[in-house]
């Protein structure tokens, strides 16, 4: 069974498209990712924070993670590398970094003045 993440296309999240999660990658079930694993957080209103993990020691998983990263960027999501453990650092990613611990894909197009 192929996993998907829903990615909002327009404001208001009425329309979403499904981006497949490549085969070696998996959705994180537990609270903490395993050691030497990076996490892609894809936020959407339907699933909340969907977390896809890759093993930074596995070339196949890195390739799949990069493929997914590029696809999500193409769909308009903005990737940010976020420091963990209270580092309070955020950097926008121009390209995929397999050593990134945590990448949050923000639905930037959904944010606005309330």
């Amino acid at each position: 069974m192929t996993n998907f993440v829903d990615v909002p296309v327009f404001d208001g999240c009425v329309l979403t498209i499904q981006v497949p999660i490549p085969e070696p990658l998996r959705v994180l079930d537990g609270a903490v990712p395993p050691p030497k694993h990076g996490v892609l957080h894809i936020m959407n209103p339907k699933d909340g924070d969907k977390r896809v993990v890759w093993d930074s020691d596995s070339l196949a998983e890195i390739r799949a993670a990069k493929e997914m990263f590029d696809r999500l960027v193409k769909e308009g999501l903005e990737p940010y590398r976020v420091g963990v453990g209270g580092k309070a650092s955020v950097k926008k990613m121009e390209e995929f970094d397999p050593m990134a611990e945590q990448v949050i894909f923000m639905p930037r197009k959904l944010a606005g003045g309330g």
């Binding site: 609270a31 959407n44 209103p45 977390r51 209270g86 923000m106 944010a111």
Partner: protein
């Protein structure tokens, strides 16, 4: 319904033509159970003779017109209730529980304890536990971002504080709560940025956290800007600031 007899009233006649005589200064009201209650403020004698129990000696005694027990009975509390039940009987008991006097040592101990407690009473709203899976997942992500200590602070305070590159501190609340901007401890403005769609409160907080740390000017440009909130006056407890020896002397004199 309340009847407040004037000072000096001695006889009160109830609606069923039964009457009781009290010296003065009572408050009578008819409660929901159609019982007549008299709250005696000060009583030294009572005309009616009926059974009551003595609060001081905890024995049942007859309360007579000029009973010495009566005066002893009201000596301390001076605030008792007389209830006429549905069968024409009368009972009396203290309007408030009669508490045993607190020993001087215990009172002094309480004063010392209260001095050790923080003076400031915070009015913050802790984050409540939820069962929704999406929100739980978002909180797990936030915990990973903030670290254990930061996440505990978030749960306790109900917001996340982050210092941006400009040095300003942003107080971010979950959900649609406004982000309060502080400059050197002074609130300068409130920014309202929301995520459209049914995002969980903590996902919304994470998004704003990321946006602020990445580019706070962009965040502000996106936001509806409101004037700075008035600086909250800290809620301080009232504390007796006299020296403990002085307090002890006054307590001892009053005992």
């Amino acid at each position: 319904m309340y009847y407040i007899p004037t000072a000096g009233t001695s006889t009160i006649t109830y609606s069923d033509n039964m009457s009781l005589t009290y010296p003065s200064k009572g408050i009578i009201y008819n409660d929901d159970n159609n019982k007549y209650i008299k709250k005696i403020i000060n009583c030294t004698t009572a005309a009616s003779s009926y059974k009551s129990y003595c609060a001081s000696c905890a024995t049942t005694s007859s309360w007579d017109d000029d009973s010495s027990c009566c005066s002893r009975y009201f000596m301390k509390s001076k605030d008792y209730v007389i209830l006429k039940d549905g069968w024409g009987g009368y009972n009396t008991w203290p309007a408030a529980p009669v508490m045993p006097p607190v020993p001087l040592s215990d009172r002094f101990h309480q004063i010392i304890q209260s001095r050790q407690a923080p003076l400031f009473i915070p009015s913050r709203t802790p984050i409540k536990a939820v069962a929704e899976e999406r929100e739980m997942r978002a909180r797990q992500t936030l915990r990973r971002i903030l670290g254990d200590d930061g996440f505990q602070r978030f749960l306790r305070n109900g917001f996340v504080s982050v210092r941006a590159n400009s040095g300003k501190v942003y107080q971010i609340y979950p959900g649609h709560g406004m982000t309060v901007v502080y400059d050197r401890g002074t609130p300068i403005e409130k920014l309202c940025v929301v995520l459209r769609g049914d995002f969980t409160p903590t996902d919304s907080l994470i998004t704003r956290y990321v946006m602020i740390l990445h580019d706070e000017a962009d965040f502000r440009a996106l936001a509806n800007v409101w004037t700075a909130p008035a600086k909250r006056v800290p809620n301080f407890r009232q504390l007796d600031t006299r020296p403990l020896t002085q307090i002890f002397q006054s307590l001892k004199a009053a005992a």
